[in-house]
């Protein structure tokens, strides 16, 4: 077996045994169960119903909690191993730093992506048994979004993990990054918009650099643009881009962000003292 795959495989096995992974899977599986119990699929609100509505709610909650879950569980993977001297021992074997780092990235990606994806698959399967129609285009879009969301935040988490010296620090920075992307940027931009000092287009462009904003808009991009649930940003964007272009961008851009951070993290990991 290639060393990279070996590292990924061992990391995967380690994660599957960890408590955080159980909680992680329970949260997303539980979310779906809760939606069914609450009868979300039956309700007719604002023009969309059934599984589309359930999936939309699922993705909207996921956009908020998945990033923080990924950040806090992943950010300690390298910095934690460094703190506890595990890295010192494991790296005394002839494994290249490239194989070690990217093996960890691959292992973690599978662990964070599979549960959120499987929860959605279970929802669709269960929905079919209840006689609902499957909104395939939404299902595929959300699969893409979950994939790119996982990549983006995994990349950021690995960057933090290899840059920061201690895992305590890494944890603090994760919370900071999450809250900034979740709320602070929006609040700042809204106040700018109110002051009327910048053009609307520029403000929206800045908002869209934030992958979390991209996900929010992309999640509703397949629904009727006339819907009132859409905020002004989403309305503006979907007016500006064609739907197809925006969907493709909303998947590719966060993946790009994730890869960029992961590569930067790798460079730092290679350049700095290892332990």
């Amino acid at each position: 077996m290639n060393n990279l795959l070996l590292i990924a495989y061992l990391d995967l096995k380690e994660s599957l045994r960890a408590h955080w992974f159980m909680i992680y899977s329970l949260v997303f599986g539980g979310l779906i169960a809760l939606f069914f119990i609450a009868g979300i699929t039956e309700s007719q609100v604002m023009g969309f119903s059934g599984l589309s509505r359930l999936l939309l709610m699922y993705i909207q909650v996921t956009v908020i909690i998945l990033p923080i879950f990924i950040l806090i569980t992943t950010v300690r993977s390298i910095s934690g191993d460094r703190d506890s001297h595990i890295l010192e021992y494991m790296l005394s074997f002839p494994i290249s730093l490239k194989q070690y780092y990217w093996g960890k990235v691959l292992g973690r990606f599978i662990t964070v992506f599979l549960p959120v994806f499987m929860a959605m698959v279970i929802a669709v399967v269960y929905g079919v048994f209840q006689g609902a129609d499957v909104p395939w285009s939404i299902f595929f879009l959300y699969t893409g979004l979950l994939f790119s969301m996982s990549s983006a935040f995994l990349g950021i988490a690995f960057f933090i993990s290899s840059t920061v010296k201690s895992s305590e620090m890494a944890l603090g920075i994760s919370f900071f990054v999450w809250i900034v992307l979740l709320a602070f940027i929006d609040i700042a931009l809204i106040s700018l918009m109110l002051q009327n000092r910048m053009s609307e287009g520029l403000i929206i462009a800045i908002a869209l650099l934030n992958p979390m904003e991209v996900f929010r808009v992309a999640a509703i991009s397949l629904f009727d643009p006339e819907l009132t649930v859409m905020g002004p940003v989403a309305f503006y964007i979907l007016d500006l881009f064609s739907q197809g272009v925006f969907v493709v961008l909303s998947i590719l851009y966060p993946i790009f962000v994730g890869v960029l951070f992961a590569v930067a993290g790798y460079r730092v990991f290679r350049k700095k003292d290892l332990v």
């Binding site: 001297h85 595990i86 021992y89 494991m90 005394s92 002839p94 700095k272 290892l274 332990v275």
Partner: protein, 212 residues
């Protein structure tokens, strides 16, 4: 084999290693001594390529341990000062070692046996749940099974009972011929019989280096 040329390593304002020049050759069995904080572990980490020296150079067979880490580490065995809390289970750890370093499982079992550690009933246990001494025995067995030209032990006997210490030193005596062995230790009487060179470090400098 190992050559440190004018090597310094500083962390912030503390200077852990201060312009050290030293060479270790094949056949050397070195006791590396010195007070706590003298720089012993720092020296070892430089040899293993974990630290970038602040100045000077480290060469192993003429090669840079950072740039050519995989080539260098193929011939190095290392047991750390404290066994780390590895979360893999014993079987997985052994698989990791065997696959990454071309060691056979049979060899690890054989040396574990000689260290009076029975691996079979512990295979499924997490490594960190083993007792302190068992962890150390396993890491020692792995280091011997690797059959490396360079063996580095950072106080490996701290958790071992007297019987296990004897086993360890006996095994080393059989295995150190034509190799280079570095022992960090605070108890010179213990290693007296297996070393042929003693080096004292203090405040990051080599204060004595005698052959015996």
């Amino acid at each position: 084999m190992i050559r440190l040329n004018n090597v310094s390593k500083t962390f912030g304002t503390t200077c852990s290693l201060d312009h050290v020049t030293i060479a270790f050759n094949q056949g050397d069995a070195v006791a590396l001594m010195g007070a706590n904080g003298a720089g012993k572990t720092t020296l070892i980490r430089l040899i293993l390529g974990y630290y970038h020296p602040s100045s000077g150079s480290v060469r192993i067979d003429g090669r840079d341990p950072i740039k050519e880490r995989t080539e260098i580490l193929k011939q190095v065995s290392f047991v750390p000062q404290l066994p780390p809390p590895i979360k893999l289970n014993v079987g997985e750890l052994i698989a990791y070692v065997c696959r990454s370093a071309q060691v056979t499982e049979a060899a690890i079992y054989q040396y574990a046996d000689e260290m009076r550690l029975d691996i079979a009933p512990n295979r499924g246990k997490s490594f960190f749940k083993l007792s302190g001494g068992m962890k150390q025995k396993l890491l020692i067995a792995i280091s011997l099974a690797k059959q490396s030209a360079i063996m580095i032990y950072d106080e490996p006997t701290a958790n071992l009972d007297p019987q296990a210490r004897d086993d360890f030193y006996r095994l080393l005596q059989h295995n150190e011929q034509n190799k280079l062995a570095l022992f960090v230790t605070h108890r010179i009487e213990e290693v007296k019989t297996i070393v042929n060179r003693k080096i004292y470090l203090d405040l990051g400098k080599v204060v004595s280096d005698e052959t015996c």
